[in-house]
């Protein structure tokens, strides 16, 4: 029984890390309707930038701020070169543009920073602490704490600041928002930067766990089912779905995996997502889409 609890809790905590990546997607989708496949490469890029700065001896906080600035510049470039030109296009076109963008960012990150593997030490070790007989990783708890703080910051951002309210206006009805005087372009740049910030945090946490190298951008493949189950437009959905995906994935690997073969972790979340979608076609908390002729 305690083993089951351990797997369950461990999986849930691991799922929090997936949610972190998914939150970045949700932010951009809510504001501009773009499914940003390049989020994964943003995670890689920001983590690589940060690690290369700290390895050159720059202190943590300064490196963090410098990386944020670099992300901001990158977002400006993306907006000027890509987003501006693709304003009224279909969802699929935008998705494919971000697919191309992810290739560009990955290639850029590796050209500038090289292909070596870097270790990243955040000062929190992975050693377990004993919690009523169940071993919980200190690192996972730390990650959960960070995720919680992030969500609180974001919700404060959305409800209390002018920017946040503008963002919700844009998500609701872009045309009306423009007529009230909100500059769409500025909102998009800011949202992408906030998403970049989330990507940086996710990149640091994942990098500390895996080492900062190329397969970091593959975490996006784990975040997709989370996104789909939770609905593209809801942060709460992303968190909840992350917990669900993390927990079920690990449980399935151990219990189902014993029966039908190991290694089902890769596709199980997707099958789960399909099952969820059959019941909730737009995800748990997603917005229902009305189609008219």
């Amino acid at each position: 029984m305690s083993f089951f609890l351990e797997v369950l809790l461990g999986g849930t905590l691991a799922g929090v890390m997936y949610s972190l990546v998914a939150i970045g997607f949700v932010l951009i989708y809510r504001a501009s309707g773009v499914f940003n496949f390049a989020q994964g490469s943003l995670v890689l890029f920001s983590a690589l930038t940060f690690v290369n700065l700290t390895e050159r001896g720059i202190p943590f906080v300064v490196a963090f701020i410098v990386t944020l600035f670099v992300i901001f510049v990158l977002v400006l470039l993306i907006d000027a070169l890509i987003l501006k030109h693709l304003i009224n296009r279909s969802v699929i076109t935008l998705f494919m543009a971000t697919l191309g963008l992810s290739y560009v960012i990955e290639g850029l990150a590796q050209t500038v920073w090289g292909t070596q593997v870097h270790g990243l030490d955040l000062g929190i070790s992975d050693a377990p602490i004993n919690f009523f007989g169940i071993m919980l990783s200190k690192f996972d708890l730390f990650a959960t704490g960070i995720a919680g703080t992030l969500v609180i910051i974001l919700s404060l951002l959305f409800s209390k600041t002018r920017f946040g309210i503008s963002l919700r206006a844009v998500a609701d009805d872009p045309l009306a928002a423009q007529s009230v005087g909100i500059r769409l372009n500025h909102i998009w740049i800011l949202v992408w930067t906030v998403a970049g910030f989330v990507a940086l945090v996710a990149g640091l946490l994942w990098g500390a766990r895996l080492g900062v190298q190329f397969s970091l951008s593959l975490v996006v493949l784990k975040a997709l089912p989370v996104l789909i189950i939770g609905g593209f437009t809801s942060i709460a959905g992303a968190i909840l779905a992350g917990l669900i995906v993390g927990a079920t994935e690990k449980l399935a690997e151990i219990y189902l995996g014993g029966i039908i073969g190991s290694g089902i972790e890769n596709w199980f979340p997707y099958v789960l997502a399909i099952l969820f979608l059959l019941v909730y076609p737009t995800g748990l908390f997603g917005q229902k889409q009305v189609t008219r002729v």
Binding site: F35, L81, I82, H85, L86, R89, V91, I92, T93, F95, M96, A97, L99, G100, L101, S102, Y103, V104, I105, E106, G107, L108, Q110, T111, G114, T115, L221, L224, P225, I228, F232, I260, G261, S262, G263, I264, N266, W267, Y270, V271, A273, I274, L277, L278, P281, T282, G283, Q289, T291, R292, V293
Partner: protein, 356 residues
């Protein structure tokens, strides 16, 4: 102006509207091109041309054709193309292995049918899930299929490492194991299937596909059977992809490894149809040529210009950046891809020296 005029070639009957090439001259040129491809190239081509350029080009073009039917003509975004290729490859291998009496072409055809059945299964969620969320179904297939083939040893004839070598191929007693043989097999398959696809697109089914893509709700309103259309699109697309997968394994690489047909391959095929032009058959060919030739060109150029001094890693990353950049460029400037560009060029040439 060039070479032939369109004068006195009018469409008088409905059957003529449905022909693949409306002008007599186009038909002649097409057949001439086929003759060159079948008769001339095998005699003068070096091995490298067949092994590393023509065969992958043809196989990827076929795969692009298949995906185009689903994504370009029916509007269902699919990220699982490589999974269907894997189904086709493994199915053909197992048929060849366990029923050795079957001729090679029949096994390939049946492999395609099995892939089509898999396609229908994967397409079932599309009846309920709409829009962007549909990628989850094809992605699930993309991760599930390689796992299935590596997990259960039956598919790989209990080979310890899970990589199978394709058996020797022969048709009617003639061994086709040479580069030229591979090339001719692939070429004939691709030509036949392309003609079939063209006729399909020109038929009622093709019009149904495009109706579902353009405005699904309107299609339902006027009575087009949308569910059947979608499933048919999935089935036919997977059929093509399955045959492409079988050819990939047998005619190109000579081995079948489930990991080689992974998400990256699906993305590659998606790029082929984006660059070539969504909803265009010639687009699949142009995109495939682009994808096959660009890396080689860059690599050769890099060596020619920089000699040994070029850093391979830099070259590779540059290639990635150029790829991604080109995708974005095509999406912005010419969403209908290379096929539209070439068509514009062709029409300008035809009318030259006039402008319009």
């Amino acid at each position: 102006m060039f070479l032939f005029s369109q004068a006195r070639q009018y469409v008088e009957q409905y059957q003529d509207e449905k022909r693949i090439f409306r002008l007599k001259e186009h038909r002649i040129l097409f057949i001439f091109g086929l003759l060159i491809a079948f008769l001339f190239v095998p005699f003068v081509g070096p091995d490298y041309l067949f092994n590393a350029i023509l065969v992958p080009f043809l196989v990827l073009a076929l795969a692009g054709l298949g995906l185009n039917i689903l994504t370009g003509y029916t509007g269902q975004l699919s990220l699982g193309a490589a999974a269907f290729m894997a189904v086709g490859a493994f199915a053909t291998y197992n048929l060849e292995l366990r029923i050795p009496q079957l001729p090679l072409l029949v096994s390939i055809f049946l492999g395609g049918i099995i892939a089509a059945l898999a396609g229908i299964v994967v397409g079932l969620p599309s009846l309920r899930i709409k829009g962007f969320y549909l990628i989850v179904s094809t992605l699930a297939a993309q991760f599930f299929v390689p796992w299935l083939f590596t997990q259960y040893g039956w598919f790989t004839n209990n080979n310890a490492s899970g990589v199978i070598t394709a058996p020797r191929m022969e048709i009617l007693g003639y061994s086709i194991n040479s580069p030229v043989g591979h090339y001719l097999l692939t070429l004939s398959t691709v030509v036949v299937l392309t003609v079939l696809a063209r006729n399909l697109i020109n038929s009622q089914y093709g019009r149904n596909f495009r109706a579902v893509r353009d405005m699904e709700t309107a299609a339902i309103t006027i009575g087009i059977p949308v569910s059947q259309t979608k499933l048919l699109a999935f089935a036919i697309s997977s059929f093509y992809l399955g045959i492409a997968g079988a050819l990939w394994a047998f005619a190109y690489l000579g081995t079948i490894e489930a990991d080689g047909l992974d998400l990256n391959r699906s993305f590659q095929i998606l790029f082929i149809i984006i660059i070539g032009g969504l909803g265009s058959l010639t687009g699949s060919f142009l995109g495939a040529a682009f994808i096959v030739l660009l890396p080689i060109l860059l690599s050769v150029l890099g060596q020619a210009v920089f000699g040994q001094a070029i850093d391979q890693a830099l070259l590779q990353n540059l290639q990635k950046i150029i790829f991604g950049g080109l995708i974005i460029y095509f999406l912005i400037k010419e969403p209908e891809g290379l096929s539209r560009l070439l068509r514009n060029l062709y029409h300008r040439l035809r009318k030259w020296p006039l402008r319009y």
